[in-house]
Structures are given as C-alpha cells and as structure tokens.
C-alpha cells in the first residue's frame, strides 16, 4: 500500500486550463506598473513644487544679478577668460598643424 500511495502522490498535479487567467494577471500587472509610474511622477512633481515654493526666488534673482555684474567688471576674471580663449585657440592651431 505504501508503494501505491507513493505512486499516487508522485503523479503530476492535474493540469489547470488557463481560461484567460494569464491574460488577467498580465493586465493587472500592467495597470499596477502604470499606476506606480504615475504615482512616482506625481511625487516628483509635488516635491519640485514644494522646493520651488520654498526657494527665495526674488532674493536669488538679485544675488545672481549682483554676482554677474561684479564678475563682468572684474579685471582678474577678464584676464582669466582671455587666457582661456587664447589657450584654446593655440591648442586648436597646434592640432590643425599636426593633422
């Protein structure tokens, strides 16, 4: 009898017909993925809005303006910029000559 029970137990499980089960599961998974994606985007949008609202934009504008003007009027920055432009032009000239 033990052998009979073992043989019975070892039989594969009766097959279960799909009958649309896989399609329904895949559809639910797809909807879930879309919902998660939408939620992520919403969270990102809300976080961005909160950060923007918290930023002192008026002060930032004034600060940027001040810094830009003072940089434009600064002699060392002008010299550094000119050096950068000249170096780049020189390197390009050397490369062109080698080629």
């Amino acid at each position: 009898m033990t052998r009979d029970v073992d043989a019975l137990l070892s039989q594969p499980l009766p097959p279960v017909a799909d009958n649309g089960f896989s399609g329904a599961v895949a559809l639910r998974a797809l909807h879930e993925a879309e919902r998660t994606k939408l939620l992520d985007q919403l969270i990102l949008l809300l976080t961005g809005a909160v950060v923007l609202a918290a930023l002192p934009l008026a002060h930032l504008g004034t600060a940027i303006e001040t810094v830009t003007v003072s940089l434009g009027n600064s002699l060392p920055v002008g010299v550094a910029f000119a050096a950068l432009v000249l170096t780049t032009a020189f390197v390009r000239g050397v490369v062109d000559r080698v080629e």
């Binding site: 019975l8 137990l9 499980l13 089960f21 599961v25 998974a29 797809l30």
Partner: protein, 168 residues
C-alpha cells in the same frame, strides 16, 4: 525563449515577457494552491493572482538562487498562510482524529484524502512528490526546519495510507 532571459526581461519591466512567464507557470502554481486550499478553485486562483503580482513586484530581487518555480511556490505558500489566517483559518488546522476513520463504504480518491490532511502535510507532500522538490528545497520553500518537513511527509503519508486503504 530561455527562462532566464524571460525572467531578466520581465524584471526590467517587459510585461509581455511577464505574461509568458505567467502562462508557463500558472498550471503548476494553481494546482499547488488548489491542494493547499482543499480544492477551492476560486480561493486558489485569488491567491495565485496575488502571488504572480507579488512576483512581478519583486522580480528584480530574484537572484536565481534555486529554481524559479521554488521561488514562486515560496511566495504562494506565504500568501496562502496570510490569506488563510485572515479568511479561512480552518484551512490551517488539523482535522480531528476521527476524520481518518473513514466510512466503510468510502474509498477516497487522492484529492479528497489530501483535503483531510493539515496544510503543512498537504504542502510538504505536494512539493516533495508531485512537484519533485527535495526535502531541503521544500524546507526552504515552506520556511520550516528540515525535520518538520520530513515529519509532515511521514505523517501525511501514514494518514493517506489509512484513508486510501481499499475496503475502509
């Protein structure tokens, strides 16, 4: 397509690959859950759906240690336990001893006899015999010590032998 590639594609969010995986594994998983739910196809299918959805969410964590079927069955078993505790605690309980003294006219078929065993016994016997897992794999799937799985298998087989005895 090779299952490893299919899993990798599904883990990357390819829902068509996931649908193929579900199609390949639905019969085995639903069969296993029907055994666990004492042949309640509707409850078994509910748990199978939840199992596949959890698999979809956790697929990126699957490291390929052990078979994919084993991993799926582990999720299914834990889902079954959660669901049974909430909705049908009797599914987890052992039936009273007199259930194994069958009526004289009844020779039970395997499925009806299986339904009289405890959840642990049903799961251990199904995993180790019908699904071909080793005792160690079954222990990992059921999150039980190896000794417990072995005793579930032995006790379950003894009970089945009594229930399926011709003439009892």
């Amino acid at each position: 397509m090779d299952e490893t590639k299919l899993i990798a594609r599904a883990a990357a969010g390819d829902s068509a690959a996931f649908a193929l995986l579900v199609r390949q594994h639905q019969s085995g998983l639903r069969g296993f859950l029907r055994r666990l739910t004492r042949n309640d196809p509707s409850l078994a299918d509910d748990i199978a759906q939840e199992t596949f959805l959890e698999c979809w969410r956790k697929l990126s964590h699957y490291r390929g240690e052990g078979s994919f079927t084993g991993w799926l069955n582990r999720i299914a078993w834990s889902r079954f336990l959660m669901d049974a505790r909430k909705r049908k605690p009797e599914l987890l309980e052992d039936l009273p001893e007199q259930s194994f003294e069958t009526a004289p006219d009844a020779k039970l078929d395997l499925e009806s006899a299986m339904a009289k065993l405890s959840a642990g016994e049903r799961a251990a016997l199904t995993l180790c015999y019908a699904l071909g897992h080793s005792n160690e794999e079954a222990a990992a799937i059921l999150a039980m010590p190896l000794g417990t799985v072995k005793s579930h298998v032995l006790r379950g087989r003894d009970k089945l032998r009594v229930l399926l005895e011709p003439g009892t």
